[in-house]
């Protein structure tokens, strides 16, 4: 892997930023490598945005050691959790809204082909052009060709998960096209040559001191006396981006919703950068996952209540942009909609797993997840981290990359959860993430059955013992031998692998001297109706 002057590995496609975003020292020199060389941490630079890095337990082990990350995440997630709880709590019909959101999405999945064709008809009728992309390569090719046809080598972008998923920026860079992220957090990530670690707040792993460092080192036109006061940081980004908004001929966006019966596209955002991108350039290209279609305009009523409260913890997001095709003399005069599959129809074909396609990318599940809170987004090795990523990523990639079973790092994702259920509780469209995690675990186990494993052998043995009371009673007696290991102190502090995973940080009490079963059996018929006494 080649490295930049800053000592960071080069992201696939490299040079996502053009030369006029000057970096100190410039490419290929080491003049000012000193100060900033390690400032931005060890960031992943994937070849595949849905599958990078080590399997989850190993990636998590590294992340857990990053004290700055732990503190940033704990602060950010607890703040947003509190905000969300407050604004959700004030909606009297929140549960009914969730039910409605779930019902609409279930309906969409049941008749996705006809809804997409309806969307296409209505977009075309209003002057738009619709493109169908089977996978990331096709989508990237379509977008790159559209941009090149306009004769430009730079575009502005609205924050979009779909374009992160397909690695669009890197693909455009390879074609000599610079894509400028205009969402503040996405800009931070892009300037740092980093990867997003959160669906909504891609730079959640950074604090303001780090952001200041990134701006000073990489923005090029940041004020030299820039402080780490959030307002100053935002103003620096604002000045930096304004020029781009005014000069860009082409904008690229994602879409939160695409309305089938009107052909209307929707982007929901907080900063106004989206509104700039969606209205100022002459050409707008929107890349939308096919699952984002909703049947009717009135369905937005449900989702525009569910989404902001679940994601940013706001009653209503500051900017909601809706556009339908092309309006002569107003806004972009050329509109392209790229409908992206990229594994979604495979997920749709799965009776249990398809509910993952209901996701509206609010990221509430990330913010409440106790695992995500500790390890952050990069440990998941996908642009979709957290609980939704743990069910979506392995499903989207199961047929790609020639990896399967235990060879696929994404196979570890369904196990990256304690099944605590916090994600299901907050999901605005009621995706039963824990149940899908269990189902995906079962798929992994079944796919791996040809290979003898320690876990498989242990589970088979346990099944034999635990399905019969006599065998279980004997095993209980055998477990009593553990008292020997425990010794007089009554606790076990060291065990061989894999149980050493337990005893590295926790003791295990000695098994009981007498099992409950034997106590019950030996209990005199006229046993005193009291607790306590012997055997404790």
């Amino acid at each position: 892997m080649t490295r930049t002057f800053l000592g960071l590995p080069v992201r696939r496609g490299a040079r996502t930023l053009p030369d006029d975003v000057a970096r100190p020292g410039g490419h290929g020199t080491s003049a000012s490598a000193g100060r900033a060389s390690d400032a931005f941490g060890d960031v992943p630079h994937p070849d595949a945005p849905l599958r990078w890095g080590d399997a989850f337990p190993d990636a998590a082990r590294v992340a857990l050691q990053n004290t700055q990350l732990r503190r940033n995440l704990a602060h950010a997630t607890s703040t947003i959790r509190t905000k969300r709880a407050a604004v959700v709590g004030e909606v009297p019909d929140w549960e009914a809204l969730r039910d409605a959101g779930s019902a609409i999405k279930t309906d969409v999945m049941a008749r996705l082909p006809e809804l997409l064709e309806e969307l296409e008809r209505n977009v075309v009728a209003r002057g738009g052009v619709v493109h169908w992309a089977r996978d990331a390569d096709e989508a990237n090719r379509i977008v790159a060709d559209l941009v090149k046809a306009k004769g430009v080598d730079e575009v502005v972008k609205v924050k979009s998960m779909a374009t992160q998923e397909i690695g669009l920026n890197e693909a455009l860079a390879a074609e000599g096209i610079a894509a400028y992220e205009t969402d503040l957090a996405e800009l931070i990530v892009q300037l740092a040559d980093d990867m997003p670690s959160h669906i909504l707040v891609p730079a959640i792993h950074r604090n303001r001191a780090e952001i200041r460092e990134i701006f000073l080192a990489r923005m090029g036109d940041a004020p030299p006396d820039l402080s780490d006061v959030p307002r100053e940081l935002a103003m620096a980004a604002r000045a930096h981006l304004r020029r781009k908004f005014l000069s860009a001929k082409v904008a690229i966006s994602g879409a939160n919703f695409g309305v089938a019966d009107t052909g209307t596209l929707t982007v929901v955002e907080s900063e106004g950068n989206g509104r700039m991108c969606l209205t100022l350039p002459e050409t707008l290209i929107t890349v939308m996952g096919i699952e984002k279609v909703v049947p009717t305009y009135t369905d937005l009523e449900v989702f525009l209540q569910l989404l902001p409260r679940s994601s940013t913890g706001e009653r209503m997001n500051p900017y909601t942009s809706l556009w339908t095709g092309v309006t002569p003399g107003d806004g972009p005069q050329e509109f392209h909609l790229v409908l992206l599959d990229n594994g979604r129809t495979d997920v749709l074909a799965d009776e249990v797993g398809r509910a993952a396609l209901h996701c509206i990318r609010c990221s509430a599940c990330l913010n409440v997840c106790p695992v995500y809170e500790r390890v952050g987004g990069h440990a998941y090795g996908s642009v979709y981290p957290g609980p939704i990523g743990a069910i979506l990523t392995p499903q989207l990639t199961k047929a790609s990359g020639g990896l399967s079973g235990h060879d696929d790092p994404n196979a570890s994702l369904p196990y990256a959860s304690t099944l605590c259920g916090a994600c299901y509780e907050v999901c605005p469209v009621k995706i039963d993430i824990p149940s899908i995690l269990v189902e995906l675990r079962a798929r992994e186990v079944d796919a791996d059955r040809g290979r003898p494993t320690g876990w498989g052998a242990a589970m088979k043995a346990a099944s034999f013992v635990m399905s019969d009371a006599r065998r279980f009673r004997l095993a209980g007696k055998a477990a009593g031998l553990g008292r020997v290991v425990a010794g007089s102190k009554g606790r076990i502090s060291t065990l061989p692998p894999p149980a050493s995973g337990w005893t590295r940080s926790r003791d295990l009490p000695a098994p009981a001297q007498q099992t409950f079963r034997d106590w019950w059996r030996d209990r005199p018929a006229d046993a005193p109706r009291t607790e306590g006494g012997e055997g404790r």
């Binding site: 337990p57 998590a60 082990r61 857990l64 106790p370 695992v371 390890v375 196990y415 990256a416 959860s417 304690t418 099944l419 605590c420 259920g421 916090a422 299901y424 149940s435 269990v438 995906l440 675990r441 079962a442 992994e444 186990v445 876990w455 088979k460 346990a462 099944s463 013992v465 635990m466 399905s467 019969d468 009371a469 065998r471 279980f472 209980g476 477990a479 009554g490 606790r491 502090s493 894999p498 149980a499 995973g501 337990w502 590295r504 940080s505 926790r506 003791d507 295990l508 009490p509 009981a512 007498q514 409950f516 079963r517 106590w519 019950w520 109706r529 009291t530 607790e531 306590g532 006494g533």
Partner: protein
Amino acid sequence: MRIALTATCLGDVMFPQAPRATALLLERLGHEVFFPERQACCGQMHVNTGYLDEAVPVVRNHVEAFSPVLDGEWDAIVVPSGSCTGSVRHQQGMVCRRAGLDDLARTADAVAAKTYELSELLVDVLGVTDVGAYFPHRVTYHPTCHSLRMLHVGDKPLRLLRAVEGIDLVELPAAESCCGFGGTFALKNAETSTAMLADKMTHVKATGAEVLTAGDASCLMHIGGGLSRIRAGVRTLHLAEVLASTKDAPAPVGAGTADGSAR
């Protein structure tokens, strides 16, 4: 009332004091307790680890052990565990149906409908919150994830604890956050599990409680194992043990291994 007791596999072998206290408590309240000897395990460990085929015989054994409830042998089934109750109620039917065993699935669902977690049985079915317990200690309560979010027991355990004579019940900060156990998660993702455990122990310690109680022996094994390792001086007791404690027969606190181990 005639009540069949599910000891749970972990309760039977590792923490018999939990099912024992459950039996003694219910008998003290005037009910008849039965222990169907055929029982072993509900299958939760297999299910949550993804071994659904291996879970089938375990689930079948559980369902058959408790199916006499459908013939009126007992009025209800009690489980001193939120996660085992959750597995019975939300997973056993699915496991059977996935294996094509629709009849067994229907029986499992019917048995599940008669199955209650301890605080559910006491508050919802038996209609008591003051069980006549005496426990003069500083206690904090951890609401286990499955009791909270799978069963929605709400504040039932806390209402039972508040009614205990002499208790000094203190609120656990960030109580609803998972302790990091997650069954085999504690082994497969041991480091992440430990990070979650560390935060839970910090909150437990901050309460100054002598005793941490919860409705699941498994979560208590996890938090208690961590507290024991750091010699925190906090003991873990199952909710049933606190509720079974009386002036005549107090639950053991102070004596023995008061270093956090559950026994």
